[in-house]
């Protein structure tokens, strides 16, 4: 291997806060907001925590550069992370580097997708990751900076420069940061990571290239049947990138909706099968040109309908959020996979 950038350590001279911000933005290192200074001492505090994680990283698309632990830590420092967040950032990076995630495609596309980070297991509480009220929103350091750190890594090491390699038509606010926890405490069903084969004591980061959350409002329904009708009709959209069974999606149930669904006896598997069928989009809602385009790629309607996902199991369902009669829908890029990675123990 040979170095691409001349040196891993740079002497930037004497820069005060504002001058540092101007310098970093001029280098193209920022998402537009000010960055913390990745001093050698700050980076060392991060890498010290990750010393037990010795598995090499593959090249990051689109640059195809192999990161060093120091350059990854520099981005986590700049994002505003605490050192103890770094293992979660690394697990998220390993997730998006899983080949089936299709990192290059998800970064270069015109679609407004961003890496969605779902954190399950004990580390949510250890790091105070928000999984309750406003879990997709502002105001929590861990949620804001863990997601931002991954985005900065993909920008700076991966080379996903907006307008150059990142060709998004509109982009998305989710590209600043998109990280939230699972509300296991208020879920009537086993935690998401346990359903994916991990131990309950494991801390797991799950990634998917998704759109920002779409709200599903249902204040009126008092039965599971009513809530599932609202969910199915809300997500049944001909303009979704997943249309014609291209990829996975997430349904994030608010705790109140989840309680009603569980009270009426619904399991995760039963809901997946029900929503898979009821969210199908009738061919009459798809333009003739699009039907011809799908057909040319072998994606044909079934019984006059287009499914949103390849299988019912591609409906990924969990509980997050706080009080209120809302749930959320997170459609994926389509050509991507949901990848879960256990967070390595800190040194």
């Amino acid at each position: 291997m040979s170095d691409i950038e001349a040196t891993e350590i740079i002497d930037v001279g004497d820069l005060d806060g504002e001058a540092w911000t101007d310098y970093a933005i001029a280098q193209g290192w920022s998402d537009g907001m000010p960055l913390a200074v990745p001093s050698e001492a700050a980076v060392e505090r991060f890498t010290a925590i990750a010393r037990g994680d010795n598995e090499p990283f593959p090249p990051i698309s689109p640059s195809r550069l192999i990161p060093t632990l120091q350059s990854l830590a520099a981005n986590a420092v700049m994002a505003g992370c605490r050192p103890e967040y770094f293992p979660v950032v690394l697990a998220a990076l390993r997730g998006v580097l899983t080949p089936d995630y299709n990192l290059h495609g998800t970064l270069a596309t015109t679609h407004p997708c961003a890496p969605m980070l779902l954190v399950s297991g004990p580390i949510r509480r250890q790091l105070a990751i928000n999984y309750s009220s406003n879990c997709f929103g502002q105001g929590n350091r861990a949620n804001a900076t863990i997601g931002r750190a991954l985005e900065l890594i993909l920008l700076n090491v991966g080379g996903a420069k907006p307008g150059i390699m990142d060709r998004a038509t509109h982009g998305s606010p989710a590209k600043y940061s998109f990280c939230f926890g699972e509300n296991e405490e208020e879920s009537p069903w086993p935690p998401y990571h346990v359903r994916r084969g991990f131990a309950a004591s494991d801390s797991v980061v799950t990634v998917m290239s998704g759109e920002a959350p779409h709200n599903i409002n249902d204040h009126g329904s008092t039965t599971a049947e009513g809530i599932l009708t609202t969910v199915a009709q809300t997500i049944s959209q001909p303009g979704a990138n997943v249309i014609s069974g291209k990829g996975p999606l997430f349904i994030v149930l608010g705790p109140e909706h989840a309680q009603t669904l569980a009270r009426d006896g619904w399991t995760i598997e039963a809901m997946q099968k029900d929503l898979f069928q009821r969210s199908r989009v009738h061919a009459s809602r798809i333009s003739t040109e699009n039907q011809e385009s799908y057909a040319s790629m072998g994606r044909l309607p079934v019984d006059g309908h287009y499914h949103l996902t390849p299988t019912p199991e591609d409906f990924h369902m969990l509980v997050a959020g706080g009080p209120g009669k809302h749930s959320a829908y997170i459609p994926s890029f389509g050509g991507t996979a949901v990848c879960s990675v256990r967070v390595a123990a800190s040194a």
């Binding site: 192999i66 060093t68 350059s71 520099a74 700049m78 299709n102 090491v157 040319s296």
Partner: protein
């Protein structure tokens, strides 16, 4: 002030060098390869039409990826590289 370079990375070692024979632009078979989007096909169709004025086009054919969002399968690339001497690529949306 010394900082750790946040864009630092290492490149993969070695790039294989290959030698190919010169292309006969008037006779060699050409593939017009798209990312499977309709506009990419339309763009290359226009090029094929213009090429008809300067060369034979009965061996200029279209091909595409299975999906615009996924890389072309290795088998597709192998098949195309074995069948054609030139590939004109169009990425459109």
């Amino acid at each position: 002030m010394r900082i750790v370079n946040p864009s630092f990375g290492l490149s993969l070692a070695g790039t294989e060098q290959v030698t190919t024979r010169p292309v006969d632009w008037l006779n060699d078979p050409i593939v017009l390869f798209t990312n499977s989007k309709p506009n990419a096909h339309a763009l290359l169709a226009g090029i094929r039409e213009k090429l008809a004025g300067v060369r034979r086009i009965d061996n200029i054919e279209f091909a595409s990826k299975d999906s615009a969002s996924q890389p072309a399968p290795a088998a597709t690339i192998d098949e195309i590289s074995g069948k054609y001497r030139v590939a004109l690529l169009a990425l459109a949306d």
